[in-house]
Subunit: 121 residues, 4 copies
DNA sequence: GTGGTCTAGACCACT
DNA sequence: GTGGTCTAGACCACG
């Protein structure tokens, strides 16, 4: 369970932790039902305040990606949602496509990267 | 030049303005070389402080999407960059794909939306 | 951390702060890795608005001379760039040499001053 | 008399005009006693307001680099000042050296460029 | 307690 | 009339 954090990034640390865990689940490094480290141990490991890790876990729980149990700590949720493209995802994708277009990325290039990330990570 | 802002969003207003302008350029609503509203007029129109609009313009300028001519104010840059997928875009896409996967979005669905945004907006 | 500002100068205050910090780093008064004062404390010390100091720090960060750690505030960057004479530096130097020439400064005098500043400050 | 102006630069246009004329005098393209274009003709040629050219001429006159005569317009001053390094020049050079140092420029490199500009331009 | 964001003014430099 | 700069507050997100 090694997360790579950038303390100089403009992305809040709790969000970076949340993102890394999502990437872990998506790529299969974190399996459904697997136990996540306790807040305290993870906080020590990556050298941040435990409040920060707590905030990341709360966010992941609220988004439905993990569950928290008083006895077992946090674990990856087994059930995958089937909501399809939500409004929020659509908005994010639309903005990202626009940014890519303005950077001269072709649709083919963008889709190729998307496919790769769907398969690999 | 009507922007839809959400003052209760956790996305800063200056960033929402920046995003909306990028969407406008990408979708062709704002043409290359077209003059953007002055800072003051846009600020008045959407009911925010002029420094907030200023911050959005500064950001867009720094990102290379608009230029500011000392005589004429800001205008959409005509030259489109040809950098292809940057590290930053790849990271954003990778995270977005992961979020989509965890929401049960299929690769086909994701790519279909991408194509649509590339064509329409 | 005492900066000498001239409030009647036509150089903006945020630029003066930026210049003084660059002089401090260059002369060794500010060591690599050293913590800079917080925005608020520096603003109070020199009697300007905190947004003015913020602007100076943002500029220095953008230029790569300092970094801002979300936990510890701003600090002097340890890595010195190795880009050599950039186009911007060349332009500035060319103009400065021309101004010196028109003021009757000899090449020897100019170079002697340059050497001194390279060694001392 | 062709000046290269950058209307997107953060340097005011009148200052760019002033700089270009100084470069012209220093490099010998503009000879002592030579007549400068009239304010109106220069303004038309480079497409700026004549007030802007006027400001540049006023500044050059105040700095002692040109003289203005009601009948003959402006001309390059023949007398070269012999003040040596002024406080202002020293300050500018000190800051420029510091910026160069932080960019990894060596003293030799800096001096070599200085010599070149003293000889050529 | 830190920086990030925002406001409602104001003055000035520039064109 | 434009953007650039600055002020004196304020609130919030972050850690």
């Amino acid at each position: 369970m090694l997360l790579s954090l950038d303390f100089e990034s403009d992305i809040p640390i709790y969000m970076q932790i949340r993102n890394q865990i999502i990437l872990g689940i998506s790529s299969g490094k974190l399996l459904a039902g697997e136990k996540l480290p306790t807040i305290r141990s993870l906080a020590e490991e990556i050298g941040v305040n435990s409040m920060t890790v707590n905030k990341a876990y709360q966010l992941l729980k609220q988004e439905g990606f993990i569950t928290t149990d008083r006895r077992n700590g946090a674990m990856v949720k087994s059930v995958i949602k089937s909501g399809g493209m939500t409004k929020e995802l659509e908005d994010k994708l639309c903005l990202l496509v626009s940014e890519a277009k303005l950077n001269g990325v072709s649709a083919e290039e963008f889709i190729a990267s998307s496919k790769r990330f769907f398969e690999e990570g």
